[in-house]
């Protein structure tokens, strides 16, 4: 009796899927469907795939991150770029760059600080969440520079899956971007983030943009930036080569 019921069910399901009443799931069902279907004409708005390209572009620029998203993104950045010198500066600068290059809305409020764009509230929140979700522990060394280390906790292994689940549209773009900084030092991250910020500021303010003006803005950011004076132009060239070019997205960093 049970067997008969199962046979009935298989037969009915197969029929429903081969005729398009339900979505075909096997090649055989699909072949029957394709052989029998009279294809419907696409509505005008779907005749070309422009709507797909536009939607992807819009989705990229409208991802609103929850606290959980922020923690997952932060954890993924640490996972991907955790070199020996990885500390708070590199982390904060990469978070700033990912947010702006990939146009993610982290509801941040960056201000100008010695090492580049800085949002202390966001940083603190993200670090708390990293610990709360058992992704990373934050340990500060008791040496003069008080360097911060991110130590993986029990849930750090799950980060990759969570990242792909929570950032399905953006994950490839974020990974491609982070790969460029895989071996970067914290100083290189600081230079690029600061250059990106001054460049983005000029776009938002609709001011003239030349390499010299960007260098001047960079050096005027903070007296400590003077030590990078010979590296600015090379960094600008590298940013152009790697297509890390701001578009005026986000707020002015002042």
């Amino acid at each position: 009796m049970e067997k008969k019921r199962q046979t009935d069910e298989v037969y009915i399901k197969d029929l429903l899927k081969s005729t398009g009443y339900l979505f075909p799931e096997t090649d055989e069902q699909m072949s029957i469907y394709e052989a029998n279907v009279t294809l419907r004409e696409l509505p005008e708005k779907f005749r070309s795939p422009e709507f797909v390209f536009n939607a992807v572009q819009n989705q990229r620029s409208s991802k609103h991150c929850t606290d959980v998203d922020k923690a997952i993104l932060a954890g993924h950045i640490i996972n991907t770029c955790n070199t020996k010198d990885f500390g708070r500066v590199k982390f904060q600068k990469l978070l700033y760059l990912v947010e702006h290059v990939c146009q993610l809305n982290l509801r941040s409020n960056y201000i100008r600080q010695t090492a580049g764009p800085y949002d202390g509230v966001l940083l603190k929140r993200v670090e708390t969440m990293l610990q709360q979700y058992h992704f990373y522990d934050i340990s500060q060394q008791h040496t003069d520079n008080k360097a911060v280390q991110y130590i993986p906790l029990s849930s750090a292994e799950e980060l990759d899956d969570l990242f792909r689940k929570n950032f399905p549209i953006e994950c490839d773009m974020i990974d491609t971007f982070l790969f460029k900084f895989h071996k970067a030092t914290w100083e290189q991250c600081e230079i690029v983030a600061t250059l990106y910020a001054v460049w983005n500021n000029r776009i938002i303010r609709q001011q003239e943009i030349t390499d010299e003006l960007l260098k001047a803005d960079f050096l005027a950011w903070d007296p400590h930036k003077y030590k990078y004076r010979d590296r600015v132009m090379k960094a600008l060239m590298w940013m152009r080569k790697e297509n890390i070019i701001p578009v005026g997205w986000g707020n002015i960093v002042e």
Partner: protein
């Protein structure tokens, strides 16, 4: 600079797998490759969404179908993970459309129920823009012999159940409250409807 559309004639003769590889590379050719793939499969996907998709909702069918098609085509572009070992591209697309439809359905009925009078009916009506195949016609006739309640319950079960996957509790709950029945009743009605449908099909086949 060459517009991506200008690559399309060059890519027209390459295989589906090669197109997917180009889309996955996300380089300059990705859009052009997707255009070719779109030309090959958009109409079939649209037809599937119209036929299978519109039967999944009780109201706002046209909007549901458009949303379903649009989200399916976006997913294909964003996650071009097709593996030729697993079967045909069209079957792979159908799987994506089905999963998208089930996801969409969760919010759809809940959202639209408030504004539209909830008339419990699972329509098997077709629009008149296409001629159904004899097999399709047979099934439609057989389904017409079932009551709206039986059709709704049977097709909702079959939509979700697949191998080890069962009808989610929330969907079952919604189904039961829609028809004012218990979960046990729903299962019995499903079994009865299945049997009835099978008999109807056999009868119709014999009559031909």
């Amino acid at each position: 600079m060459i517009a991506d559309g200008e690559y399309v004639p060059i890519l027209k003769n390459i295989s589906d797998s090669q197109l997917f590889a180009l889309i996955a590379a996300k380089d300059d050719l990705a859009h052009a490759a997707y255009r070719v793939l779109y030309d090959r499969y958009a109409q079939l996907t649209w037809s599937l969404c119209c036929e299978a998709g519109r039967k999944m909702v009780r109201w706002n069918k046209e909007q549901f179908v458009e949303e379903l098609f649009s989200q399916t085509m976006i997913k294909i572009f964003v996650h071009p993970t097709y593996d030729p070992i697993k079967g045909k591209v069209s079957t792979w697309i159908s799987g994506i459309a089905k999963n998208t439809a089930l996801d969409l359905l969760k919010e759809w009925n809940a959202h639209t129920q408030i504004t539209v009078e909830p008339i419990p009916e699972f329509s098997s009506e077709e629009d008149e823009s296409t001629t159904p195949s004899p097999l399709h016609l047979l099934l439609t006739q057989a389904l017409e012999m079932l009551s709206d309640r039986e059709k709704d319950i049977l097709l909702t079960y079959l939509m979700y159940e697949d191998g080890n996957k069962y009808l989610p509790g929330t969907v079952l709950q919604e189904l039961c409250s829609r028809h004012g029945i218990t979960a046990d009743n729903a299962r019995q009605i499903k079994s009865r409807a299945m049997k009835k449908l099978r008999q109807q099909i056999q009868q119709l086949e014999m009559d031909k």
